[in-house]
Subunit: 202 residues, 2 copies
DNA sequence: GTCTATAACCGGATAGAC
DNA sequence: GTCTATCCGGTTATAGAC
């Protein structure tokens, strides 16, 4: 977005790119330096260790994820509108940054304590989503379902096609990139329809 | 399962354990050797390089995954039975080996070409699943839906709670292991009900 | 086949000049 | 702030005795 960046930002951007694609263990400081157009020593000058640089990147990325979800959540309180908006917005985001979920999931599994350190805005999001669902159940707009399950179902349907891309593409779509693109384009309608059918009372 | 194992099998078992938990990049030959109760040199005697050992492990694990799915698929041809069996069997399996999907997904993303090398039984599974679904659509047992979407929806609903455990537990369940266990126990009924609602024509 | 010892290498981190 | 050169620990891989 920005043209002229200071060194620190260039490093962070480069680090994001490399860490997201290779993970903490697979990433190389040399590669990050190359990506940023500087040399290794300078990385250490700005962020003393690889680990510190990684933590910085992870908290930024995870913060973004939470922020986007929060945005999508706090817009609507009507259930059907919320469902539509959330699913479409979230999948659109994933189309632009398809490697983020795999990165976040992998690094959270590697070090699950991380989640605790990161949970500031968590409760806002959780309470908001849960209350939308609970209200919809009370109003008999949807069948009785526990909020945790509905939320994870929705996230699963949105995220899985991206994290499991090689499997979906290889096992079901003849390893054909065009078919995969097409499939991804169909997902928003498909997921919205699927969830609505599953929970809306008609 | 077996008590007395030869060295090669002990190595492979140890390697599975370590690679599945740490991934290719995070795993250490020393740790595998310790786990197998031998020394590093012997690893190289049996499998010349770390990479060769990893490839062996990956193809075994991925083969198992495909095999289990194949089993679940080829049992029933009636749609509703297939749905029930598949979901319940698959989640039961994941409860026993919760780290497999994250491992497979991560390593496939690291090297997507892998999938091509591994696709022997692929088509049997795919054709079988797809034809069960297509027949159900024709018979008006379920609403019209593309097989790819239904299959990925089902897999997503089964797998996601395991690969995203830290997120589900941390963001939605107060980071409480008991609540997570409880949540996982509810999944089979929840997923079966969700999918049936979503597709069955009543 | 299995071990100990060690070579060879790689990658994160530091020293020090500019 | 940025660079080149270098160190040093850890990890894969090999040599060679048993």
């Amino acid at each position: 977005m920005v043209k002229e960046q200071n060194t620190e930002d260039r490093i962070v951007d480069a680090a994001k790119k490399v860490f997201i694609n290779k993970g903490m263990d697979g990433a190389r400081m040399q590669e990050i330096a190359n990506e940023a157009g500087i040399n290794k020593a300078l990385l250490h000058y700005y962020f003393r260790t690889k680990n510190k640089l990684f933590e910085k990147v992870f908290s930024l990325v995870f913060g973004d994820v939470l922020h986007v979800i929060e945005q999508a959540v706090t817009k609507e309180t009507d259930f059907e509108q919320f469902l539509e908006n959330f699913i479409r917005q979230y999948i659109r985001l994933l189309k632009n940054k398809p490697f983020i979920p795999q990165f976040v999931i992998h690094e959270l599994n590697r070090k699950p304590e991380r989640i605790v350190a990161q949970i500031q805005s968590k409760n806002v999001i959780k309470e908001q989503m849960f209350s939308i669902i609970e209200r919809a159940v009370e109003k008999k707009e949807i069948r009785p379902i526990q909020p945790v399950h509905l939320v994870t179902n929705i996230l699963a349907l949105c995220i899985f096609p991206f994290v499991a891309k090689p499997m979906v593409k290889g096992l079901a779509l003849d390893d054909d990139e065009k078919k995969y693109k097409q499939y991804i384009n169909e997902r928003p309608d498909e997921v919205v329809a699927f969830v609505k059918q599953a929970v809306l009372l008609r």
